[in-house]
């Protein structure tokens, strides 16, 4: 087996090793089988085409076909017989789309979903092809590290906290294997290998002389893994932990009076670096709305604060039934049952609940329920490792129903209690502007709610620090960057300013679905939203935070996602029927939860699309980076040319006849004026540019040739005629006079000549050469390579000297002398 074919197999193996990071993404190992099958088929196709001595493009094509066929086998659409048909491609498209949805619905580790498996197999297959081509065809295995790195970047993007180290080591080993195999092959082609003591080494036996290289490799990997662990970074480690003001999850016992700082607790949970599962809830409701545990309903100069809840203990008296309460008499309810299991990660004296509980059981300790706040609290017990079940009512209502809600009278106690706002000119002005012309409470609320959208310039960022006081809320309204608690508090304030009761609710978003009706809720699901009191419907939730940025966000009909294109904007159609008073709470109509997390804006740049499809973004970013990297030589070449043209295309001084003045003998010495010096520099710059251009167009450059001869050969070899030929001769003459004559040629249009020669050369070159000259100019690559080689030589010399110096301290030297 030739080295090339063998290299192809090594490339496949290395690709498989570098796919190790996917193990942290998937829950099961099905993906591995499929990926191995795909890569094996691709490698087989590569080896086969190479054995049959196909050209490079045919090898690439063969591998692509092999990948498509394999994918068709593994993910058949059912309409084809082993060979991909248009239906298969359409099926693939569906799978990719499905994968895009799955990435939003599932958190890591994800279950075996067809779409995700397909994307995994496809991605690894593409990487395998690229690695194979780079290694076996182009003999540039070092570049194969880029696609391999792309695989590794997936867990980096998905895991916000520390990324597992092991897959990186496995992948790095694969990469090193590839490099080693390539170099062994190179040495093997060079000739016989032998040990230091003169013994021949078998072809694939590691050379004892390479021990130093292996040691270096191991040290390199170790350093690469260990160094980042030691260095504190912005997103993980000391820095961000020290800057957080909240302790994270409401600490043990968190205030028997229920007076914990909900805002600080929330921001602490969201900005933690690790993801901790707080509770699991299973419910028979199809798309449950948020779990809630606290309310902040007092607005003071410090911002929203929570009153201590006040209610009856569970043992004495049953929970209030909203169906019979006057405040919610307009609402229809549906009853559901939920089981909550809290882990030791959540120890607080406020128990997470769905709204309107009508029965709570199995909760250990003494707990009391505040019917107004709908908060279950305890003075002594915490939720630590509690398991309890809730029967709750889910209100069902529509925007049209809500629009019937009448405004509360000025003296209504609820309105008095929950519309107290500090006087703030900016907020008042904004509210007045937004609610102008709106007649019903609901329309006013919707106008305010709709304003928290991209359209109005709001964007989500967890990196803003907030304790929730008034000046900060106002600042948020002005600079429009913040996260859920700022959105919730700001909206509540504005709604209050419009004369409608509002408060901020705290809790958790839906979480990640698991086994059907069970949802896993982590600290990333901690959330805050606004509740607005509408007469006859009670406290109606509005979540103003952009849903794309919130894990498990949910949008009911009456408060749709404002950033969706279909969402109605600030003006809601209206027909305010005189309302009947009733009350209700949430009954949302939701979309599936998404995986990932909300503060990923820092990991992936800004979340800009409606669909925060991180895979798409990632691929796009990688491709953009790759293209940018590939364009660097071309850019460098263009810059260099600009620089030289700028040097050359100065204002033409007094025009002198470019024809030689002859052996006048009148000029006895060399007069150096600034003009002549400049003219010399110009000619040199133009000549260097011409030489570089020749290198770019793969015309040999001979340092033993004089400028005149070079120009003549250029004209001959590239068949320049007319203007370009004259221009080339002019450049040659200018350079030779700049170098050897007393007076350089002045006033010649060297820049124009350069352009003409270049275009002439490009005309006579074939497309491949032209493309290469434009995209990967050989002159730049060559000078870089030479520079690198020179630096390498210098480093070798230096290390040699260092080694000699170190040898002086080697005790073995003394031993040898003793002998």
């Amino acid at each position: 087996m030739t080295g090339r074919r063998r290299l192809g197999l090594v490339a496949a193996g290395a690709t498989l090793l570098s796919a190790a990071p996917l193990a942290t993404i998937f829950d099961k190992w099905t993906w591995l089988l499929q990926v191995i099958l795909t890569v094996a088929m691709i490698a087989g196709a590569g080896v086969l085409t190479r054995t049959l001595r196909f050209p490079s493009w045919a090898q690439a094509l063969g591998m692509i076909v092999a990948m498509l066929v394999t994918l068709t086998w593994i993910f058949p659409s059912g309409h084809e017989l082993l060979v991909p048909t248009p239906a298969t491609i359409a099926h693939f498209g569906e799978l990719i789309q499905q994968a895009g949805e799955d990435t939003r619905s599932y958190a890591v580790p994800v279950p075996d979903r067809d779409g995700l498996l397909f994307v995994a197999a496809l991605g690894i297959g593409v990487v395998a092809i690229v690695v194979d081509l780079l290694t076996a065809v182009f003999r540039r295995p070092a570049l194969a590290g880029l696609p391999m790195l792309a695989i590794y970047s997936i867990p980096v993007a998905v895991y916000l906290d520390s990324v597992p180290v092991t897959p990186f080591i496995v992948g790095a080993c694969g990469y090193l294997w590839l490099l080693v195999a390539d170099n062994v092959d190179r040495v093997r082609r060079f000739g016989r290998r032998f040990t230091g003591d003169g013994r021949d080494v078998d072809v694939w036996e590691p050379s004892p002389l390479a021990a130093a290289g292996r040691r270096l490799g191991v040290v390199g990997v170790l350093v690469a893994v260990l160094l980042p662990l030691a260095v504190p970074t912005v997103s993980g480690g000391l820095l961000s932990q020290l800057t957080q003001n909240g302790p994270g999850i409401g600490g043990g016992g968190g205030g028997g009076n229920g007076k914990i700082n909900l805002f600080a607790s929330l921001s602490g949970q969201l900005s933690q670096n690790t993801t901790v599962t707080l509770l699991k809830v299973s419910t028979n409701e199809k798309n449950p709305f948020y779990l809630r545990f606290g309310v902040a309903d007092q607005l003071t100069a410090e911002g929203f604060g929570n009153q201590p809840p006040n209610g009856n203990t569970l043992n004495r008296g049953s929970l209030p039934d909203p169906r019979r309460e006057g405040t919610t008499n307009q609402t229809t309810f549906q009853q559901f049952h939920a089981d909550v299991e809290v882990t030791d990660g959540l120890r607080q004296s406020l128990a997470p609940l769905y709204s309107y509980p009508v029965g709570i059981s199995d909760l250990a300790g003494t707990w009391a329920y505040d019917g107004n706040q709908q908060v279950l609290y305890s003075n002594r017990s915490t939720t630590n490792k509690q398991k309890y079940s809730i029967d709750y009512l889910r209100p069902q209502y529509t925007p049209d129903e809500l629009r019937t809600a009448l405004a509360l009278g000025r003296d209504d106690p609820i309105r008095r209690a929950y519309t107290a706002v500090p006087d703030n000119a900016y907020v008042n002005e904004q509210v007045a502007k937004l609610t102008r012309g709106k007649s019903t409470d609901y329309d006013k609320v919707r106008a305010i709610y709709d304003s928290f959208s991209k359209k109005y310039g709001f964007s989500y960022s967890l990196s803003t620090q907030s304790t929730g006081n008034l000046s900060e809320i106002e600042a948020f309204l002005k600079n429009k960057v913040g996260y859920c608690q700022q959105y919730a508090a700001a909206m509540a304030w504005m709604v209050r300013a419009a004369g409608i009761p509002a408060r901020v609710a705290f809790g958790f978003t839906r979480g990640t679905p698991e086994d059907g009706d069970t949802y896993v809720i982590t600290n990333r699901n901690a959330h805050a939203w606004t509740e607005v009191y509408l007469q006859g419907f009670g406290w109606v939730p509005f979540d103003a935070t952009p849903s794309v940025s919130v894990t498990g966000a949910s949008r009911p009909d009456w408060a749709p996602d404002v950033d969706r294109t279909t969402a109605p904007t600030a003006t809601a159609p209206t027909a305010a029927a005189p309302g009947v008073s009733s009350s209700a709470s949430a009954a949302p109509n939701q979309r599936p939860d998404k995986a990932g997390d909300l503060n990923d804006s820092s990991a992936l740049g800004t979340v800009t699309t409606d669909e925060d499809n991180w895979t798409g973004l990632l691929i796009f970013g990688l491709i953009a980076t790759l293209i940018a990297l590939l364009l660097v030589p071309a850019l460098r070449r263009v810059l260099l040319r600009r620089q030289r043209h700028a040097a050359t295309a100065g204002p033409p001084p007094a025009v002198i006849d470019p024809s030689t003045p002859g052996p006048a003998g009148t000029v006895t010495g060399i007069t150096v004026t600034t003009e002549t010096a400049q003219a010399r520099e110009d000619a040199h710059a133009a000549w260097d540019e011409l030489i570089d251009t020749m290198v770019d167009f793969q015309i040999a450059v001979d340092p033993t040739e004089t400028p005149r001869l070079t120009a003549q050969r250029l004209i001959r070899e590239t068949v320049l005629t007319d203007q370009p030929a004259t221009a080339a001769e002019l450049l040659g003459t200018a350079e030779e006079r700049a170098r050897y004559a007393r007076q350089p040629m002045q006033g010649a249009e060297l820049a124009a000549a350069l352009r003409q020669v270049r275009s002439g050369m490009s005309r006579s070159a074939n497309t491949r050469v032209r493309l290469r000259a434009a995209l990967l100019p050989p002159s730049i690559m060559l000078s870089w390579r030479l520079g690198l080689a020179e630096a390498g030589t210098r480093a070798m010399e230096w290390s040699g000297r260092f080694g000699e110096w170190v040898t002086r301290f080697n005790p073995r030297r003394l031993v040898n002398r003793a002998r």
Binding site: T660, P663, A664, T668, H684, I691, T704, R708, P778
Partner: protein, 347 residues
């Protein structure tokens, strides 16, 4: 014999005058020697470089004719010496003869007392006679019986020799060869030139029709003008590099002398002037390296066994040395001592 006269116009010529004068000489010579303009130009360049010319080729290609045509074209004193085995040094330099009337020895100048000396078949004379030319060629003077006689300016020896015929010849000693600025080979004419020669030479010798187009004074001014040509530092370094390379080449037993460096630059100046330039190019040096250097070097026995001629060795050196450049060519790693040669084509 012309002697410099007072009142003769001196000083360098202008470009146009120079061009006209040299062109006239070359055209004149080419009336006789058809189709050999490069050789003719080189011969004139040697004249303007104050050098001596060795024309080496097989018999019958026009060696002597070229020498004579050059001599005829310039209105100056010309002597011709036919070198024969029995020629004596005094025949060349001159001899002191006892004069009965004055009762004293009187110096009878030899053949070298002329502006142009044509030495035919120089290698047929014995080495001792050949050596008579050593002093006059380099120092432009003759010392006989303790008296030194200056030769006239310009002074140029044009010698011919036959490299093929070995019988009865004495190869030129190294010292003698080093005194010749350039060695040129005539080469056979191409068929067209030969045809022209047949028709032209059929009834009479065109050499007889040649009229002088310049005189010694003009030649002196031409020489002065050629001397003023500028040779940049880089060009001088290149000349030194070329000569040094012949000394260091492994195939060469004896390299070129420092005198050859000087003569190389001088000839290059003359060539540049003939081409209408007032500065020397490396191209000139490259073109002159073989004529100026090749006849001075002695290849090693190995090289001779390998049938390596000095011409090929020198031209290989020319193709190996990088061109001097004020701002170094970034692709030229050879000048820096690196061993890698730039390949423009990728693998």
């Amino acid at each position: 014999m012309t002697t410099p006269t007072w009142g003769e116009p001196t000083g360098p010529l202008t470009s146009a005058e120079f061009h006209a004068a040299t062109q006239a000489i070359m055209t004149n010579i080419e009336q006789v020697i058809e189709g050999k303009s490069a050789t003719v130009r080189l011969a004139v360049a040697v004249l303007l470089a104050e050098g001596h010319l060795l024309i080496e080729d097989v018999p019958g290609v026009g060696k002597t004719k070229l020498a004579k045509a050059l001599a005829r074209s310039i209105d100056c004193s010309v002597r011709r010496i036919q070198f024969t085995p029995d020629l004596l040094p005094s025949d060349v330099t001159g001899v002191s003869v006892y004069n009965q009337e004055t009762r004293d020895f009187e110096f009878k100048p030899g053949a070298v007392f002329a502006n142009l000396v044509v030495g035919d078949e120089i290698n047929r004379a014995s080495p001792k006679t050949q050596s008579a030319l050593l002093e006059c060629m380099e120092e432009r003077q003759v010392t006989v019986d303790g008296t030194t006689y200056e030769l006239q300016a310009p002074f140029m020896v044009v010698a011919t020799q036959n490299p093929i015929e070995m019988e009865g010849t004495y190869p030129l000693p190294e010292a003698q060869r080093d005194r010749f600025t350039a060695r040129i080979a005539m080469g056979y004419p191409d068929p067209r030139a030969e045809l022209a020669m047949l028709s032209g030479h059929g009834d009479h010798d065109p050499l007889n029709d040649l009229r002088a187009v310049a005189d010694a004074a003009m030649v002196r001014r031409l020489i002065e003008t050629a001397r003023a040509v500028h040779a940049a530092d880089a060009v001088q370094q290149y000349a030194i590099a070329l000569v040094t390379a012949t000394r260091e080449a492994p195939e060469i037993r004896l390299g070129a002398s420092p005198r050859s460096t000087l003569q190389l630059i001088r000839t290059a100046k003359a060539v540049a002037a003939l081409e209408g330039r007032d500065y020397v190019l490396p191209d000139d040096l490259q073109a002159l390296a073989v004529p100026v250097l090749a006849h001075r070097i002695i290849p090693t026995a190995d090289a001779q066994l390998n049938r390596r001629t000095t011409d090929t060795i020198v031209s290989e050196i020319v193709h190996r040395l990088p061109i001097p450049h004020a701002n170094r060519n970034p692709y030229d790693t050879r000048a820096a001592g690196g061993g890698t040669q730039y390949e423009s084509r990728g693998r």
